[in-house]
């Protein structure tokens, strides 16, 4: 009698074998295949579903805030522009606009720049560094305001929330830039910062002293303010150093 193949045994374990009743009969009659089936069963039973961490309370909000500006508006007046016939009209209008822009640029009088004041070549990495430095500075100010807010009675955090929302919009982009530039330390800090910014941005605008204490606790327990200061100061010093143009991560320097 032929034995069951390994594939038959594995598929039978999951209930996916086509000839299930034949396999059952064979297993009942063949101790060797039964032992093989038990080995597969034993190995697979050891692999249990993993524990999945629960995302933060502000997870949905964070996803939405990161997503919102990347979503083009659908339908409305633009929908008609991309119909099968209108797209040619649209293309014609765009061509005219481009030609107009070109001619305007060509004949528009330009201010003459004195020699020696020609703009230096812009290094994109430096632009990102400057932006991150500014972002960390603003974040630090926000965190300091939260930490020092007067915690008596209901506290109005609407201006801090507006600032947190504004910072959160760019935080994701800077984190991606830091990752791509090989700066895991900055990327990790921005990840932590993003969570706290989302918590501030998505909370109620008027909070109780207890709620405020909770936010402060999050900031303190992660040592966030300290990290923002240290990394912010490091990034800032790199911005000022001419050699920073050639790169090097904060990670390497910390």
């Amino acid at each position: 009698m032929n034995h069951l193949s390994e594939e038959q045994i594995v598929l039978h374990y999951y209930g996916d074998a086509e000839e299930a009743s034949e396999i059952e009969r064979h297993l009942a009659a063949c101790p060797e295949c039964r032992a093989e089936f038990a080995r597969v069963q034993s190995m697979l039973k050891q692999i249990e579903p993993m524990e999945i961490p629960e995302p933060s309370a502000a997870f949905e909000e964070k996803i939405w805030l990161n997503l919102r500006d990347r979503l083009p508006v659908k339908g409305g007046i633009f929908r008609g522009l991309f119909g099968p016939q209108q797209k040619w009209i649209f293309a014609g209008v765009m061509t005219l606009l481009l030609a107009g822009a070109f001619l305007a640029g060509r004949f528009w009088p330009r201010p003459v720049q004195p020699i020696g004041q020609q703009p230096a070549q812009v290094n994109p990495q430096r632009v990102v560094l400057v932006a991150v430095s500014d972002h960390l500075e603003r974040s630090q100010m926000l965190l300091v305001e939260i930490m020092n807010a007067d915690a008596k009675g209901p506290i109005n955090l609407s201006s801090e929330q507006a600032e947190a929302r504004d910072l959160l919009d760019n935080n994701h982009l800077y984190r991606l830039s830091a990752q791509q530039a090989g700066d895991p330390q900055v990327a990790r800090l921005l990840e932590q910062l993003g969570r706290v910014l989302a918590e501030i941005a998505n909370g109620p605008s008027e909070v109780s002293p207890g709620d405020l204490q909770q936010v402060r606790h999050t900031i303190q327990s992660e040592g966030l303010l300290f990290k923002v200061r240290v990394v912010g100061s490091e990034v800032n010093s790199r911005v000022r150093r001419p050699e920073s143009l050639s790169g090097g991560s904060v990670n390497q320097r910390l």
Binding site: E6, M50, F59, W64, L71, G75, E191
Partner: protein, 206 residues
């Protein structure tokens, strides 16, 4: 009464972009769990959740309003994850070696062992086996890993796997089988329980 997903989709398609937020709020946690099972990494998972919703938004015109939005989104999420794992294949190979070196690596927490009475020896064995399982999973191809996760950890049917991954049912079965075969090759030599005996060779069909 709660507005249905289909009604929200129709609202978004008529130009109300912010209505999409309702779908994000309703589905992002379940999508997070699906993706995390396949990546085992929280940061990567969050990135893929965003990419999933972005892709869903861009393809919203193709969603049939009578279909289930959650199922449609699940398929996008799995395929986004598969793309991500394919793109990171080389990196994942490196990670696999890191897991063996580093017992605390995040991937080593991806699977849990049955552990009824965890005495010190048992815990040591479990930790060792856990590392081996994480390493063995790391050796699967992205498609094997995704198909195995869907079948073994989520209990999805072969039909669902084949529809999601756009495979024939026979190919889906074969992908799950290859995954199990590779896991056996890696793990059985170290298995501490189950029937003893040398693996049988040269098995024929019925």
């Amino acid at each position: 009464m709660e507005v249905t997903d289909a009604a929200v989709v129709a609202q978004v398609l008529s130009g109300d972009r912010d209505a999409f937020r309702v779908l994000v709020e309703r589905h992002s946690r379940s999508i997070f769990r699906v993706i995390y099972r396949m990546t085992g990494n929280q940061q990567d998972t969050e990135e893929i959740v965003q990419e999933t919703f972005l892709r869903a938004y861009k393809s919203l015109e193709r969603f049939e309003l009578r279909a289930n939005f959650g199922t449609w989104l699940y398929r996008i999420a799995v395929n986004r994850t598969l793309d991500f794992l394919n793109a990171r294949k080389t990196q994942m190979t490196k990670d696999t070696y890191q897991i063996v070196d580093n017992p605390d690596a995040e991937l080593s927490n991806q699977v849990q062992l049955s552990d009824a009475a965890p005495g010190p020896d048992r815990l040591l064995l479990s930790a060792e086996m856990k590392r081996r399982i994480a390493g063995a999973l790391g050796l699967l191809t992205p498609a094997e890993r995704v198909a195995f996760t869907m079948r073994h950890m989520e209990g999805r049917s072969i039909e669902e796997i084949s529809q999601t991954l756009k495979l024939k049912a026979s190919a889906a079965k074969n992908t799950v089988f290859r995954a199990v075969q590779k896991l056996r090759q890696q793990l059985e030599p170290y298995a501490s329980s189950g029937p003893q005996g040398a693996p049988r060779g040269g098995m024929g069909g019925l």
